[in-house]
Symmetry: C2
Subunit: 318 residues, 2 copies
Amino acid sequence: MVTASTHPPVCVLGLGLIGGSLLRAVVRQGRRAFGYNRSEAGVAAARDDGFDADTDLAAVLARAADSDALIVIAVPVTTLDDLLPVIAATAPDCLLTDVVSVKGPVADAVARLHPTARYIGGHPMAGTSQSGWAATDPDLFNDAMWMVTTEDDTDPDDWRAVAELALDCGAQVVPAANDAHDRAVAAISHLPHLTANATAAVGAGESALALRLAAGSFRDGTRVAGTAPALQQAMLEANQIALLNTLSETIDRLVAARDALRDTGSVAVIVDDGHRARLAYEQVASAPAPAIADVDPGAPGWAQELRRQAHLGHTWQR
Amino acid sequence: MVTASTHPPVCVLGLGLIGGSLLRAVVRQGRRAFGYNRSEAGVAAARDDGFDADTDLAAVLARAADSDALIVIAVPVTTLDDLLPVIAATAPDCLLTDVVSVKGPVADAVARLHPTARYIGGHPMAGTSQSGWAATDPDLFNDAMWMVTTEDDTDPDDWRAVAELALDCGAQVVPAANDAHDRAVAAISHLPHLTANATAAVGAGESALALRLAAGSFRDGTRVAGTAPALQQAMLEANQIALLNTLSETIDRLVAARDALRDTGSVAVIVDDGHRARLAYEQVASAPAPAIADVDPGAPGWAQELRRQAHLGHTWQR
């Protein structure tokens, strides 16, 4: 049994909402942890709250190398090309994970810029429309789902270490292959951003009267349009192909609904399909996830079996 | 100054979420009130909670006529054709209002089936995805916006009486013409139902893994797809023309976003437009609405002036 004191330290690169909350969560759990942030303001805010943070990337990575830390990349996907060569040069042997949403492009960047990396991707399904250190919260990941890359060639010890990090943050682990993950988040995270943005724009374009009358359906349906545009763009554009597919399906459904409403006066199909889907989601979300059982990472076929159980909705739990 | 004891009694027809909550709210305010509901179960539930309710429509309307009650129609728009002739026959002189979302079709039905009615339309912007008496809540309308029909030929005394009802429920009154209201709610209420349903269907169609990974953006963005399909259909289909317009604009925006994402890899336009719109909404929603000032219903041009101030985002308040 690994205990907090024998866990490797955690080095968090990027102290925004996700990275900063992660730093808070693992420190509360008793793990040693330190962080890097590009902006002086972010570092000052973290230090004011008692955390170990620095703007000197090379120095932070040298510490990570010295202490064999688990490095967590928590910067926007658009800045990976600058960051990865520094990691490869300064802390090449450290286990590396990330919390950067879309997994395919991160894995590609790591393969290109740090090909010898011990890299296991990750993606905590948590967030708010706020950003920056001021929005960080050690409870952000409580009971959240945290995808951890689980491919046939994944190293089982490294997988365990990254899964342990997610569990230390209070999350449950969802093992998945990168491409399956990216298709899934296109459907349940990136598409909802596009529909929220379109709905907000149409609503606000109508009149001041419309915004005054706006109530729960508009408030909740457009909430994620409040996320900083640069963050939305980076996340959505990194998942171009999968998002194009789900967006096209959405357009097809809305066009069919428009034609039916125009020609027959009915919205029965879209409402029935949507309602049934929402009930299916509520059923999944309302009950505790069953725990993945009888899998020992490293045993023959372990990765495949983890993915199989995850596809049934089970999670890796503490 | 009209006080609770001099207000006319309130007769609520339909004790679902909106009608039942209205009954609870006005009774708490000290007004006499009684209700009709078609189902025995709804009436029994209301009576168990100490309210005056009955399944005998003719008897309830006879009481309304005897006590010169303000009648509130709170049934689905699809049942108006059965209800209005009974009102016209049994309580023809009572002031009549409704809480039935889309205003054009209700006004048309009243003109057709109860042409001598003293009718002033209304629409409280409140609701949840729940329905039925069990979901009723006297606080449902607190600080909600409550549209009251304000046309050039609206009777000012009747207008005041319906506005008073909204204020008694804790709401603020938004004076508007029926067609402007119907366009506005197509944009900020009915369209969000369609996008929520489409988003839910696409998300749930991907895989069980996707629903397991679904977090805040999917949860909030699909919430109203949980509303009972019959209620959604009745509300959306009654606003066919205005909804077709906003739906077409939404499709155009999503198609443009798809083309841009495919051809240039960018979602900048839809994200920037949506984010700006969401900020505009948050600004409207976060500050108290200014009170409509210096309008005396009945004075020359009063209805026009109420609408003018409402279009600036001001409301009629107690």
